[in-house]
C-alpha cells in the first residue's frame, strides 16, 4: 500500500495548480465560456506545454507514458478550476481508444499530434435514444467498393464542436460486435450541430449519412477498446469531481462562517454544520474511490477493472449530487444565481453524474459482476 504521489506527480500537481491559480480564475473562465468558441486555444496550448496532452500517450507513441494516477492528478486540478477545454473529450478518450483499438501503423503520427496539442480528435459514441448503452449500437457501417461508409446519429460528443477527426463506434452490417472507425469531420455526409453543454463545456450532435470512414483495428473487435476508453473516462471524471467537490466544499464552509442571519454566522446552526460534515464524508469516500479507479486503469483483467470503475462512479455520482445540491442549498438565494461560482460547480458535478453512465447504470453493472462471480 502506498498512497503518496511520486516526485514527478507531485511536481505535475504543483504546476497544474499554479496554472489554475494564474490562468483560470473565475473571471478568466467567465471570459472563456462567453467567447464565440466557448474555450480557449491559448489555454489549450498552455496545457500542452505543461505536458498534459503527452502524459497519457505511451512513450512508444511519442508521449510521456503516464498511467491512471497521472491522469487523476491532472483531472483533479482541472476540476478545481472548472476547466472547459476538452481535455477529457479530445485527449483522454481518443488516446485510450487509439492505444487499445488501433494498430501501430494506424495510430502512428496521430497520437503524436494529440500529444503535442496539434490535433483535436473526438469520440462519437453515444447513439441518439440509447442512453448509456455501450454495446447495442444503432450506428451502422457498410463496406462497398473497397471502402467503408457510416450512417447514424451520435449525440453529446465531447469536443465534437471543434475536432477535425472523429473516432466513431459502429456495427458493420449484421456483425455481433462493434468496430471503430476514423472519420474526417469535414467529409461529405457528416453534419454537426455544435452547442454548449449545460456546464459550459462544448459538444455536438453529429449525424452521418454514408460518410466515408476508415476502419481501425480488426472489424467487429473494438468492444474491448471502447470499454477501456469509457472506463478511462469514468476514472478521469471521478478525479475531476474530487477537485470540483473539494473546492465547492471549501467555498461553502467559508460561506457558513461569513454569512450572517439572526445576528450570527449561519454556520452556528447545527443543522447546517452537520450538512457540511456529510458533504465532507461524501467527498472523502469519493476521494478513496477516485484512487481506486485511477489504479484500476492499470488492471489487466477487464472484469476487475470494470468492477472498480463502476464502484467509483456510483459513489462519486452520489457525492456529486449531494455535495452539489447542498452547496446550493446552504448558500440560499445566491446559490441559484449564474453570477456565483457555486452554481457552476453544481452544474459541472451534475453533468459528471450524467456522463458515461449514471449511478443506477453503474450500480447495475457492478451488480452484474456479482452474478458472474
Amino acid at each position: 500500500m502506498n498512497f503518496s504521489l511520486t516526485d514527478e506527480q507531485a511536481a505535475l500537481k504543483d504546476t497544474l495548480a499554479k496554472f489554475i491559480e494564474r490562468d483560470y480564475s473565475f473571471d478568466q473562465r467567465w471570459k472563456i465560456i462567453g467567447s464565440q468558441m466557448g474555450w480557449s486555444r491559448e489555454h489549450w496550448s498552455k496545457l500542452a506545454d505543461i505536458g498534459a496532452m503527452a502524459l497519457p500517450v505511451a512513450e512508444s507513441d511519442g508521449g510521456l507514458g503516464g498511467n491512471g494516477v497521472d491522469t487523476m492528478v491532472v483531472m483533479e486540478q482541472l476540476g478545481r478550476g472548472l476547466v472547459v477545454e476538452p481535455y477529457l473529450g479530445c485527449v483522454i478518450l481518443p488516446v485510450a481508444l487509439l492505444t487499445q483499438g488501433a494498430s501501430d501503423i494506424e495510430r502512428a503520427g496521430l497520437l503524436e499530434r494529440i500529444a503535442s496539442g496539434e490535433s483535436m480528435v473526438a469520440f462519437a459514441h453515444t447513439d441518439a435514444g440509447s442512453r448509456y448503452e455501450r454495446e447495442q449500437l444503432k450506428t451502422r457501417a457498410t463496406f462497398a467498393n473497397g471502402a467503408y461508409s457510416i450512417t447514424g446519429n451520435k449525440i453529446a460528443v465531447l469536443g465534437g464542436d471543434c475536432a477535425e477527426l472523429l473516432l466513431v463506434s459502429a456495427k458493420v452490417d449484421q456483425d455481433a460486435a462493434a468496430s471503430l472507425f476514423l472519420v474526417q469531420t469535414h467529409a461529405t455526409g457528416v453534419a454537426r450541430f455544435p452547442y454548449p453543454m449545460q456546464d459550459a463545456q462544448r459538444g455536438a450532435d453529429i449525424s452521418f449519412v454514408n460518410a466515408p470512414a476508415v476502419l481501425l483495428g480488426e472489424r467487429a473487435s473494438a468492444q474491448a477498446a471502447i470499454d477501456y476508453a469509457l472506463d478511462a473516462a469514468c476514472a478521469a471524471l471521478s478525479a475531476e469531481a474530487i477537485g470540483a467537490m473539494s473546492e465547492l466544499h471549501k467555498i461553502t464552509v467559508e460561506y457558513l462562517k461569513t454569512r450572517k442571519q439572526f445576528g450570527r454566522a449561519i454556520g452556528m446552526n447545527q443543522a447546517l454544520q452537520h450538512r457540511a460534515v456529510d458533504m465532507l464524508m461524501h467527498l472523502e469516500m469519493s476521494r478513496s474511490m477516485a484512487m481506486e479507479a485511477a489504479v484500476a486503469m492499470s488492471e489487466p483483467n477487464a472484469q476487475l477493472r470494470a468492477k472498480s470503475i463502476s464502484a467509483a462512479k456510483v459513489l462519486v455520482g452520489q457525492a456529486c449530487r449531494f455535495v452539489g445540491q447542498q452547496a446550493v442549498q446552504l448558500h440560499g438565494g445566491i446559490g441559484v444565481t449564474h453570477e456565483l461560482n457555486v452554481a457552476h460547480y453544481f452544474k459541472r458535478l451534475t453533468m459528471i453524474g450524467a456522463s458515461f453512465g449514471d449511478c443506477d447504470w453503474h450500480l447495475a453493472r457492478y451488480g452484474e459482476s456479482l452474478l458472474a462471480a
Binding site: T126, A128, G129, S130, R131, Y132, E133, Q136, N153, K154, I155, A156, A191, R192, F193, Y195, P196, M197, Q198, G203, D205, I206, S207, K260, Q261, F262, G263, I266, N269, A271, L272, Q325, V328, Q329, G332, G333, G335, V336, T337, H338, E339, A343, F346, K347, T350, M351, A354, S355, D358, D360, W361, L363, A364
Partner: protein, 402 residues
C-alpha cells in the same frame, strides 16, 4: 371517511376540464407541458380567460368576487388545469397580497386593488427579501420615512429588495419597509403598496443558474409613496407579513403541478431505453418513480386534511410548513427523475430557436430540452418561501415546543 371524489366533484372536474380545453391556448399548454419559459402574455391570456368565466378568485370569498369554492373544489381546479397544461396563476396578487388587503386593508383599498387583481390589470410582485435579510426577514432595512407636504401625507422609500420573482413584469410591489428602529425589529415594520412606475424605482435582472431571467433586484431611490398605500397600521406590518407567508406555504406545495410531471414522466420512461429496454422496465428507475408517486399521494391527502381543518380559521397554522417541505422535496425529485430519464441527452444546453437557426438536425431528444434546466431551476423550491431549514425551525418551535 371517504377519500374519493363524489359524483358532484367528478362532474365539477369534468366541467373544469372541458372549459380548460376550450379556452387554453394550445401553444401555451405545450410550453407548460414541455417545461418551457412563459411570457407575460402567456400567463395573462389564461388569467383573462378564467376572469371572463368568473374562475380567477378560487380561494376568495364571494363578497370580493371569489368563486366561493370549498377547499376540495379548489384542489380539483388546480389539479385539472395543471393536468391540461394551464400556466400557474401568479400567486403574488391572488394568493398573497389579496388576502392581506381583505383582512387588513381599508374599504378604499379593497375597492381599488381587489378588482384589478382579479381582472389581471395589476401584476403584483413580492418585496420582502433583501440582500442582508433573507431567512432573517425581520432585520430588513429598506426605509420608509413619513412626511407631509402640499400634496399630502406620504412616505419616502429608500433601499433595496432582491430575488423579486418576475418583478420585470410587475405593475405593483407589496413591500415590507422599516418605519421605526425603536424596540424589537418586528415592531418597526410596515406593509406598503408601491406602484412600480413611481420615479426612483429601478429593476435589475438577476440571471439564474438555468440562465433565465426570473428574479430581480428592485432598488428604491427616494421613492414617494402616498400614505394611503399603507396597509393597516404603521409598524404592524410584521403581523400581516406572517399572515401572508402562511398562505404562501400551502400554495407552494404544488400538488397539481407534481401530478402533471408524474404523468409526463410515465410517458418519457416508456420512450427512453436502458439496457436495450424501455426505461420503465429498469427496476431501479421504476422504483424511484413508484416511491415518489406514493409520497405525492400522501402529500395530496395531507394537503386536503390541512385545508379542511383550516376552513374555520383565518390562516393556516404551522402544519403548512410540513406541506412546504414535502412538496418542495417532491418537486425536486420529479425534476431530477426527468433529467435522469434523459441520460446523456440531458447534457446539451440548446437555446430556443438555435438549432432551427443553424438548420441542422438536433439529434438529442427534444422532449428533454428543458429537463436539466428545470432540475437546476427547481433547487429554488427548498430555498424560497422560507427555506426548508427555516420551516423545520418553525415546526421545532411551534409544534414540538423545543
Amino acid at each position: 371517511m371517504d377519500l374519493r371524489y363524489n359524483d358532484e366533484q367528478r362532474a365539477f372536474a369534468q366541467e373544469v376540464r372541458e372549459f380548460t380545453r376550450a379556452n387554453l391556448d394550445p401553444s401555451v399548454a405545450k410550453k407548460v407541458l414541455d417545461g418551457a419559459r412563459l411570457s407575460r402574455e402567456d400567463y395573462l391570456g389564461w388569467h383573462r380567460a378564467l376572469y371572463k368565466k368568473g374562475w380567477v378568485g378560487a380561494g376568495w370569498p364571494t363578497a370580493f368576487g371569489g368563486t366561493g369554492w370549498n377547499s376540495t373544489q379548489q384542489h380539483i381546479f388546480d389539479e385539472v388545469t395543471a393536468d391540461e397544461g394551464a400556466p400557474q396563476l401568479m400567486p403574488f396578487g391572488l394568493r398573497m397580497v389579496a388576502p392581506v388587503i381583505m383582512a387588513f386593508g381599508n374599504k378604499a383599498q379593497q375597492d381599488y386593488y381587489l378588482p384589478k387583481i382579479l381582472s389581471g390589470e395589476h401584476w403584483w410582485c413580492q418585496g420582502y427579501s433583501e440582500p442582508g435579510s433573507g431567512s432573517d426577514l425581520a432585520s430588513l432595512k429598506t426605509k420608509a420615512e413619513r412626511a407631509t407636504d402640499a400634496d399630502g401625507a406620504h412616505y419616502i422609500v429608500n433601499g433595496q429588495k432582491t430575488w423579486t420573482t418576475l418583478g420585470q413584469h410587475a405593475d405593483w410591489i407589496f413591500c415590507l419597509v422599516r418605519t421605526s428602529t425603536d424596540g424589537r425589529q418586528q415592531e418597526g415594520i410596515s406593509f406598503l403598496l408601491i406602484d412600480m412606475k413611481s420615479p426612483g424605482v429601478t429593476v435589475r435582472p438577476i440571471i439564474m443558474l438555468d440562465q433565465e431571467h426570473e428574479v430581480n433586484e428592485v432598488w428604491f431611490d427616494n421613492v414617494r409613496v402616498p400614505a394611503e398605500n399603507l396597509i393597516g397600521e404603521e409598524n404592524k406590518g410584521w403581523t400581516y407579513a406572517k399572515f401572508l407567508l402562511s398562505h404562501e406555504r400551502t400554495g407552494i406545495a404544488g400538488v397539481g403541478r407534481c401530478k402533471r410531471i408524474v404523468k409526463r414522466l410515465h410517458h418519457v420512461a416508456k420512450q427512453a431505453t436502458a439496457h436495450g429496454q424501455p426505461l420503465i422496465e429498469d427496476v431501479r428507475f421504476r422504483d424511484r418513480l413508484a416511491q415518489v408517486e406514493i409520497e405525492l399521494r400522501a402529500l395530496e391527502i395531507t394537503l386536503l386534511r390541512v385545508l379542511d381543518a383550516e376552513r374555520e380559521k383565518r390562516a393556516p397554522g404551522p402544519e403548512a410548513s410540513l406541506l412546504k417541505i414535502k412538496g418542495s422535496e417532491i418537486q425536486q425529485t420529479l425534476t431530477e427523475l426527468t433529467m435522469m430519464a434523459a441520460g446523456p441527452a440531458a447534457l446539451p444546453y440548446v437555446r430556443e430557436g438555435e438549432h432551427e437557426a443553424q438548420d441542422v438536425a438536433w439529434l438529442s431528444d427534444e422532449a428533454y430540452r428543458y429537463a436539466t434546466g428545470t432540475y437546476f431551476n427547481f433547487r429554488k423550491t427548498t430555498i424560497y418561501g422560507g427555506s426548508n431549514e427555516i420551516q423545520r425551525n418553525i415546526v421545532t418551535q411551534l409544534v414540538l415546543g423545543l
